[in-house]
Assembly symmetry: C2
Homo-oligomer: 353 residues x 2
């Protein structure tokens, strides 16, 4: 009898969720599209799948354009799929996020290039996402898509983001291990990039390590790292080295982790097993110190906070007449009210300077 009932958003989502759990690739692709489109069925299926999440290991890969991140991510995926490495091959999902591109063109092209390397492997699933205006929306969608892959049994999820701005940083921070990729020969602004990068990098990679300038890039990264993470070897005092405990960073959680620097040539696959070993090392570190749990908690709390924020604005908008909002905006445009004063007026119903 159930088959004769009309399909509601709820029955669709139940079917989708079950098919995704059963490992059906087409259902997975369909659900990912529904989540990107923010459909009610997608949202509901996500709720049904949520209790199956929590097993995947998330690896963020970010860095400036032109450093070969995509190739590196492909190589890592191939490594995790390789039965000859001595480990059980993992199911691997790649989420390629490009916040700088409001078009899907580039992302689709990226998928095609990737498909050549990883084509036909049912243990790999690749999803590209391009920004559609709102950065918050993109981070939401990325978080949801990672949850779907997690529930669908993908053990390794590689989240690749373009660039190293705050946007990319926020998305890369969803990961357990964040890899920041550099390449030799970047220009004048490299100091500034590196300063920001130390905050988020668990592992630094100098890709294209066959290019000239690799030594100076490594030297610069090492110098920045030592400034950020002073270790005993750096404390020189009156001509002799003193053994001094490294100061505990403000995020005490990860006091003992100093990001290693790895050199790779992703196009040739060299340095990939070593990089995978560094990831495994960091993963063990996170588990042993309890930091993995902290990161999971932080990620889910950030998701909760961001959803709360969106909902509060939507609900408030529904309570206020469009007219009142428009009047406040007009007063701002006439420079009779500053934006701060307008907020006071709208939320308190009055402004007295």
């Amino acid at each position: 009898m159930t088959s004769q009932l009309p399909e509601t958003s709820s029955t669709i989502s139940m079917n989708l969720a079950n098919s995704v759990l059963a490992g059906e690739r087409l259902a997975l692709a369909r659900l990912l599209s529904q989540i990107e489109a923010e459909s009610p069925a997608g949202k509901q299926a996500l709720g049904e799948l949520f209790s199956y999440t929590g097993s995947a290991y998330l690896i963020g890969v970010t860095g400036p354009p032109g450093t070969g991140k995509s190739t590196l991510v492909n190589r890592l995926a191939q490594y995790y799929r390789d039965p000859t490495t001595g480990e059980e091959p993992s199911k691997v999902a790649i989420v390629a996020v490009d916040p700088s591109s409001p078009f899907t063109g580039g992302a689709i092209l990226g998928d095609r290039v990737r498909m050549r390397d990883l084509a036909g492997d049912p243990g790999v699933f690749i999803r590209s996402m391009a920004s559609r205006g709102s950065l918050g929306g993109l981070a939401h969608a990325t978080g949801s898509i990672v949850q779907v892959f997690d529930a669908a049994g993908f053990e390794i999820i590689l989240i690749e983001t373009m660039g190293a701005g705050q946007a990319e940083v926020d998305i890369a921070r969803m990961a357990h291990t964040t890899i920041v990729v550099e390449a030799p020969g970047f220009g004048d602004d490299i100091q500034a990039i590196k300063a920001g990068i130390l905050e988020i990098a668990d592992i630094l990679v100098i890709n294209k390590a066959d290019r000239s300038g690799v030594e100076s890039t490594e030297r610069a990264l090492n110098m920045m790292l030592q400034l950020a993470h002073p270790t005993p070897r750096e404390f020189h005092h009156h001509g002799r080295v003193e053994i001094v405990a490294a100061p505990v960073p403000h995020n005490g959680e990860e006091a003992a982790w100093i990001p290693p620097i790895h050199k790779t040539i992703a196009t040739e696959g060299s340095g990939i097993p070593e990089l995978a070993a560094a990831i495994a090392h960091h993963r063990a570190f996170l588990v042993e110190t309890g930091a993995k749990e902290h990161r999971d908690r932080d990620r889910l709390q950030a998701e909760l906070d961001s959803l709360l924020q969106d909902n509060l604005v939507t609900r408030w908008r529904a309570t206020i007449s469009g007219n009142k909002y428009q009047q406040a905006l007009d007063l701002i445009l006439q420079r009779k009210l500053s934006p701060h004063q307008a907020v006071d007026t709208l939320l308190d119903g009055g402004y007295t300077p």
Copy 2:
């Protein structure tokens, strides 16, 4: 008698605002610091200054690291200060925003380098801002700092951002004219950057135009531009060119503006007068078509919306017991409630699946 009154936040802000309006550089520097620190006096002074804003012309400059944006911005500032160009020299402010750097170190270094070129000119004021965690906070602060410069009588405000992620894009969008800077010889990801860039660029600059590869960069940019803005010359039909009206882009506002491509060598100053002419041309276009007014309106509305959002969250947080929020978060961590379901619980006081 007033001099014997204790200094309140209100009297401080009044003094600051008046001193800034009187053109005192030290007061200006002090107010900018207070705004960055989000002090109540800074907020109040901003409210007092807001009615004096609206005269400045805002020029955004963004692009990937290593393209020489800072040097280009310096050269533009020098150009606008130059009494020999035939125009009245403008007062110029530079706001250098680095969302990727949570440290001020790089920004301060940047100021020093700049100071050499523009030192001692009372008609130039440079302010560097580095991210302190929250991107939204940085965009807010940038908007406020631009308003202070505007009220203080700076006719030209150059807003320079690093990179081309959504973060930088959002900040660059505050400007009337947005310049996107490229350089020859970037790597594999250049297609993806350019796709995002077309959305926001009013003027494209290929800096370091003395480097090899400039022709292929120009060809690629031209191709992307023609895809985005089809013009009559591209419509070929059965071997002959047909004159077809270019389709109106979705943001009808600026239907007729096709971003020009300019080549510069900022280190030598070449191409700068031509770039300044292109900016003047775009400015005239914006004024004539009414698009300048639209952009001002959009900017102030975005600021209002973002302030409303922050305030709504702060106010809601104050109404709910920390315990209830914590319980919902715990249920999420135990995978008993999805983040979406938790929001329903917190805002509606209940969740029924």
